[in-house]
């Protein structure tokens, strides 16, 4: 694992972010600094606020309070500019099942204003092993193939930061292994990965920073290896049983 360069400007800076939906508090005073080359994992139960935090960083969701900077740019003031530097992979693929794999990527390439994207699309399809399926409508793709295409979509425009929200959900072992390897390669190129997950079993070997999110707060931060974090997180879950309302 490459160590991140902490001399450089942080690529994501979250300062005292608050977010609520109606009476439900999703984030309470969350602060976090991420540097280029970091592989940060938000751990927590469903509904803890991990996904909301990712969506606030991507400025899909507007925070009620606090500030978020991506590559030094205030996401509230210039959301379009920061989104071109982000890639987002979630449990859903964000793709259109009646378009072919190539058409899906071409659509997003055009939205990202890429010039002559055909070559880059072919290259990316080859990278995720879908070049032979390029002209098939993706409605017939397996979950693993769709997720590989979702990764291709997310990295097509060459983002500096990859946001992942439960990307391993529903993936078979082989696809999960591949995704885990891609993430390591991505971080190895001094790019940044921020992932939210509740599942400690897959693809986290490359991670170097961990934040446990509970009730909209970061309650614990760790900079340790996977094995040690796994034990600590399990203990955390045992010590703080879920409140069932």
């Amino acid at each position: 694992m490459k160590s991140p360069n902490h001399q450089t400007q942080p690529c994501v800076q979250v300062e005292h972010v608050e977010k609520w939906f109606g009476h439900t508090v999703a984030l309470q005073g969350v602060s976090l600094t991420v540097h280029p080359g970091d592989f940060v994992v938000f751990l927590g139960r469903n509904g803890a606020g991990k996904s909301t935090l990712l969506r606030v960083i991507a400025r899909i969701v507007k925070p009620n309070g606090g500030r978020v900077y991506v590559c030094g740019i205030d996401v509230l003031k210039n959301p379009e500019k920061i989104r071109s530097r982000l890639g987002f992979v979630a449990h859903s693929s964000f793709l259109y099942r009646h378009l072919t794999a190539f058409e899906n990527l071409l659509f997003f390439a055009k939205l990202y204003q890429m010039r002559h994207p055909e070559g880059r699309i072919q290259e990316t399809l080859h990278w995720v092993g879908l070049e032979k399926q390029a002209h098939r409508q993706i409605g017939g793709f397996s979950r693993g193939m769709q997720q590989r295409l979702a990764i291709a979509r997310a990295v097509l425009h060459g983002p500096e930061i990859l946001l992942l929200d439960e990307p391993f959900a529903g993936l078979d072992f082989e696809a999960a292994e591949l995704l885990g390897q891609w993430l390591k390669d991505f971080v190895g190129n001094q790019k940044t990965v921020i992932m939210a997950t509740h599942d400690l079993e897959q693809g986290l070997e490359g991670a170097g920073r961990w934040a446990i999110v509970e009730h909209g707060r970061i309650v614990e931060e760790m900079r340790e290896g996977y094995a040690s974090v796994r034990e600590k997180y399990k203990r955390f879950l045992r010590e703080r049983p879920r409140e069932i309302s």
């Binding site: 939906f21 969506r55 991507a58 899909i60 969701v61 507007k62 379009e80 500019k81 989104r83 071109s84 982000l86 987002f88 979630a90 859903s92 693929s93 964000f94 793709l95 259109y96 099942r97 009646h98 378009l99 058409e103 659509f107 997003f108 055009k110 939205l111 990202y112 204003q113 409508q137 769709q146 979509r153």
Partner: protein, 225 residues
Amino acid sequence: MKFLSQSFTIFWKDVLIEYRTKDALTSMLMFGLLVILMFHFAFEPDGQETERFGPGLLWMTFIFAGILGLNRSFAGERENDSLQGLLMAPTDWGTIFLGKMLANLVFMLIADGVILLCFALFFNFDLLPRIGWLSLITLLGTLAFVSVGTILSAIAMNTRMSEVMLPVLLIPVVLPAVVGAVESTAAVFTDPPGEALGFWLRFLVVYNVIFVTLPFLLFDFVLEE
């Protein structure tokens, strides 16, 4: 330029998907044709009755067929959470509104055209001398309808029973435009066109200026969770 090209990309994606699935157009056309047929057999209208009831019947068919199409507008974006992909793109979210609105406009104008032809056929209505005015009125009325309808279908998408919610939200807002469209169509149905035509056309233009601009400006707030 960037704004327009991104809007066109979204528009073209919707057109391509509709070309492959034919979801919206099939339901709009089937519904429209059935309504025209039902009214034809129920009333067997003569020329005077067509002049009297025709404009209202025509616009009622356009509107309800259009609602079926609008219900499909954001349904495709719910599959695979595709809307999130659009939101993540470095675009002004107004491009999503413009692209979707243009796609809805094209689909609805195709449906309107076919419904109008069937109306002329089943109601013995001489379409040719009035085709110019009717095209203009249909364009203005439909533009007003889809502009408001696009933003409201984005709102309804996240509600329970969205297919019921859309007409409940939409019809009260577009009612003035529908009245304007029916009145101007009624003016065209008489020979020569009635004096009210000018007033109602101006009314439709003003409605469009307001209700194309407002949804465009408000779309960010609608998409904001």
